[in-house]
């Protein structure tokens, strides 16, 4: 399930997307999967993040929440369907010669609220701006090494320095919210004044910085039917319980991010992101914990944990079994063989430890952040103790980042959200400069496979490479992850019908429809 190269496939995809879009734009009372095209009313969303800027090229880690606002104020070149495939939006069709060159054809009737046309030149200016903006946003890196050229008003070409099969998915996720070029000259103003062409405009008189953001319909928007609500009322909630209470009292229709096990809000739970969360072997070269340098020891620890027991006891339905590789059971590249690589087998664990020269086990210092993986870390420690391995868990929440960088901890509890484009997920994890990889570990095998992945031109080859990556993460045993934990959005299913794109942190605005 991924974008396939070639003009024919692209044309079909675009045609289907355009048809779907026209269907949704027609209005009426038709129903699609429980959702209808009913319009009007207000959608109130409780957000857990403050909106610190209206510049999509500076949107930081609050993107989970700011995606609602940015997605309301700006048009994206592409949208995504539930499986992460690009869907037409401002770009009506696309084609690619290879994974380094993409050509997008744009609509010719989209205008920014300041009257400027959203054309190919505007896209070029945005790509240039994304590379030089003072505080780059979370998605700007997707455009690193990307050059955009306007062939004519409605045709824009992208040339990628590093090939990327998932480039169109990146554009659809968050890397193509286009800002009016006239506003880019003074990017600082974008912090407080949006300049987009999206379905909504900011109601500055009703919005209060840091508290609530009220968006009303853009009267000139070209695709009103895709956005059923007349008003968006986005409210910041610093406290999750307060948001749940507001939902129960009928004051909010949706909570951006909730604990997937927590149904106190009385709302329906939609599993969204998947977190690859667990223990990470930082010291795989044995700088401070010699045993961990031996891959057999790390593999022994995989055999010593009972994944089923941990999932059942701690995560129930809010997680799925993890096999120490950053692939969900629905990820492309996941195979059933991954499930049996490390079955629960303490005897095998002891045997591997003996072969590695540690028949009596060993002790290792683990930097723990209970908020990230507290209960499970304790459970894993308990199970490893049965094969003689002692995890000395130390809560370092208070000084998390300094301790992570300190090089004192052979293992750490970690969390990595699996995104829409698998390449970024695996690159981010295995990169020498990755956030969690503070020991600067490298894997020539995984790096080589990622380079191969970027060049794969057909689905079969792409899938085969992903399968190899999934297995390589297991074999090299960088991680001890018994459960993949789901993130979730809560919504009022009597009022809303919400879908979600695999890997996206939250649903996109165009995926939120009215019921009835």
């Amino acid at each position: 399930m991924r974008f396939t190269f070639g003009k024919r496939a692209a044309a079909i995809t675009a045609a289907v997307s355009a048809a779907a879009m026209m269907f949704s734009a027609c209005g009426g009372q038709s129903t699609q999967g429980g959702a209808s095209t009913a319009t009007g009313g207000t959608l109130t969303i409780a957000m857990q993040g403050d909106i610190t800027t209206y510049d999509p090229w500076s949107a930081q880690s609050g993107l989970n929440g700011s995606l609602f606002v940015i997605g309301g104020l700006y048009d994206s070149l592409l949208n995504l369907d539930e499986s992460g495939q690009p869907v037409a939006n401002v770009a009506t069709s696309w084609e690619s010669a290879d994974s380094s060159h993409y050509t997008l054809t744009l609509r010719d009737d989209v205008k920014f609220t300041d009257g400027t046309a959203l054309n190919a030149e505007a896209v070029v200016k945005n790509v240039e701006y994304a590379a030089k903006v003072k505080t780059p946003g979370e998605c700007n890196s997707y455009l690193t090494g990307v050059t955009a050229t306007a062939k004519d008003d409605t045709t824009v070409e992208f040339a990628l320095k590093t090939p990327s099969v998932g480039f169109l998915t990146d554009l659809g996720s968050c890397a193509s919210f286009i800002v009016s070029p006239s506003a880019l000259a003074n990017g600082e103003d974008l912090k407080t004044t949006p300049a987009g062409s999206g379905p909504y405009i900011l109601d500055t008189s009703a919005s209060v910085a840091g508290q609530k953001w009220v968006l009303t319909r853009n009267p000139d928007y070209w695709n009103k039917g895709a956005y059923p609500f007349d008003t968006l009322n986005l409210q910041y909630f610093a406290d999750a319980t307060a948001a749940a209470n507001a939902a129960q009292a009928g004051q909010v229709d949706m909570i951006q991010s909730v604990d997937a096990t927590n149904d106190t809000s009385g709302l329906a739970i939609l599993h969204t992101s998947t977190d690859f969360r667990g223990l990470m072997f930082q010291d795989i070269t044995g700088k401070i914990s010699k045993p961990l340098a031996d891959v057999r020891v790390r593999q022994a620890m995989q055999y010593a944990i009972d994944r089923d027991a941990i999932k059942t006891a701690l995560y129930s339905d809010s997680g799925e079994l993890g096999y120490s590789t950053p692939f969900t059971s629905t990820s492309e590249g996941f195979t059933d063989a991954l499930k049996t690589t490390y079955t629960y087998d303490p005897e095998k664990a002891k045997q591997l430890l003996t072969e590695a020269g540690y028949p009596d086990g060993f002790t290792v210092k683990v930097m723990e952040v209970p908020a990230i993986y507290g209960d499970a870390a304790q459970a894993i420690a308990g199970q490893l103790a049965k094969v003689g391995i002692t995890l000395e868990l130390s809560d370092q929440s208070a000084d998390f980042f300094n301790q992570l960088k300190s090089g004192k901890w052979a293992m750490v509890t970690f969390n990595w959200t699996i995104g829409t484009n698998p390449v970024h997920t695996y690159e981010g994890l295995s990169s020498k400069t990755g956030f969690w990889n503070t020991f600067g570990n490298t894997s020539p095998t995984i790096d080589g496979l990622l380079a191969e992945l970027a060049q794969d031109k057909d689905d079969a080859a792409y899938k085969a490479t992903l399968e190899k990556i999934a297995k390589a993460f297991q074999d090299e045993s960088w991680y001890l992850v018994p459960v993949l934990v789901s993130g979730a959005t809560a919504y009022n299913d009597k009022k809303l019908s919400v879908t979600h794109t695999q890997g996206a942190p939250i649903s996109f605005l165009y995926q939120i429809k009215q019921v009835g």
Binding site: Q60, A238, D239, A242, Q251, F401, G434, F435, W436
Partner: protein, 312 residues
């Protein structure tokens, strides 16, 4: 009286300096890196270092402090590390909800506390015992617990009041009152009991004075004695307790505002602490300190007005 005001205002300068210095030191001692909070999991070390540089977080702590202090003396409390917005602007937006909450809480506490306190002192007997008993319980009830119970009953159950939110007074006075009712009552429970017990004790003490007996002997009506003589004399300690309660509201708002999602100083402070946003925390603490100084001054002025003996 003017001398008192001038003296207090002059004393406020070193007080604020000490508060600012200590709070800065405390914030710097608290571990946490706002750059990590802002950039999230995709950040590389280079990104984090770049942001440290932009935010000035890699400069020596003393230099950071003197820069902040110099700006503060010029009326500039800096910009929030997290949002990039001016701190003063954020505080100005957050001040009205907190002040509204504090004033409404104090008003409720004062009316109920003084009313029931006088009633208990005058009636004595079963009523006095019952009121004292309830007050002891009320004093022991934590405001956050009361808040959750009130939300459960009146917001989620009966749906009389909203569970969260705040409407500015200028926008809709009724919505303002309804929105603040539950948070104000949550804090007012304890404060009412405090004022009630103080009022009761003061009134009883004054009632036992000789001059009251003399007034009664002259045939003046009991209500007149109570209103004109007893209450005025009993009001001094009550004013002091009310002032303390008012100040106490500011310590309670951090939790209460979070529970009710009231966009006040407490919520701002909480978000600032969570994200290690020191200019915001510093600004909020300074605002709280100024509020406390002003309230103390008002209490002193009221006390002086009530009792000429304590005038300067």
């Amino acid at each position: 009286m003017i001398k008192l005001v001038i003296k207090r205002l002059l004393l406020a300068i070193p007080t604020l300096f000490v508060v600012a210095t200590f709070s800065f030191g405390l914030i710097k001692m608290v571990p946490g890196d706002p750059a990590v909070f802002i950039l999230g999991q995709t950040a590389s070390q280079a990104d984090i270092d770049k942001l440290h540089d932009q935010l000035g977080l890699n400069r020596p702590v003393l230099e950071q402090y003197t820069t902040w202090l110099t700006s503060a003396l010029h009326g500039d409390l800096g910009t929030s590390i997290l949002t990039g917005r001016p701190v003063l602007q954020a505080l100005e937006i957050a001040l009205p909800p907190t002040l509204s909450l504090a004033l409404l809480t104090t008003l409720i506490s004062l009316i109920l506390g003084v009313g029931l306190g006088v009633f208990a002192a005058v009636k004595r007997g079963v009523w006095d015992g019952a009121i004292q008993g309830v007050s002891s319980f009320g004093l022991a009830v934590p405001s956050f617990w009361a808040a959750y119970i009130l939300v459960m009953i009146f917001a989620l159950g009966l749906r009389i009041f909203p569970a969260t939110g705040y409407t500015p007074l200028s926008q809709d006075p009724t919505a303002w009152l309804i929105g603040l009712a539950l948070p104000a009552i949550s804090i007012a429970i304890g404060n009412t009991c405090q004022i009630l017990l103080q009022t009761r004790a003061s009134v009883l003490e004054i009632l036992s004075r000789d001059f009251v007996r003399t007034l009664q002997a002259t045939g003046i009506h009991r209500t007149t004695i109570l209103a004109k003589h007893v209450l005025r004399n009993a009001a001094i300690p009550v004013a002091v307790v009310t002032g303390i309660s008012f100040i106490g509201v500011f310590s309670g708002v951090v939790v209460i505002e979070a529970i009710f999602n009231t966009p006040g100083l407490g919520n701002l402070l909480l978000t600032g602490v969570r994200s290690a946003d020191f200019p915001m925390v510093q600004g909020a603490i300074l605002f709280f300190a100024i509020l406390v100084i002003v309230v103390n001054l008002v209490v002193d002025l009221v006390t002086g007005w009530l009792d000429p003996r304590v005038r300067f």
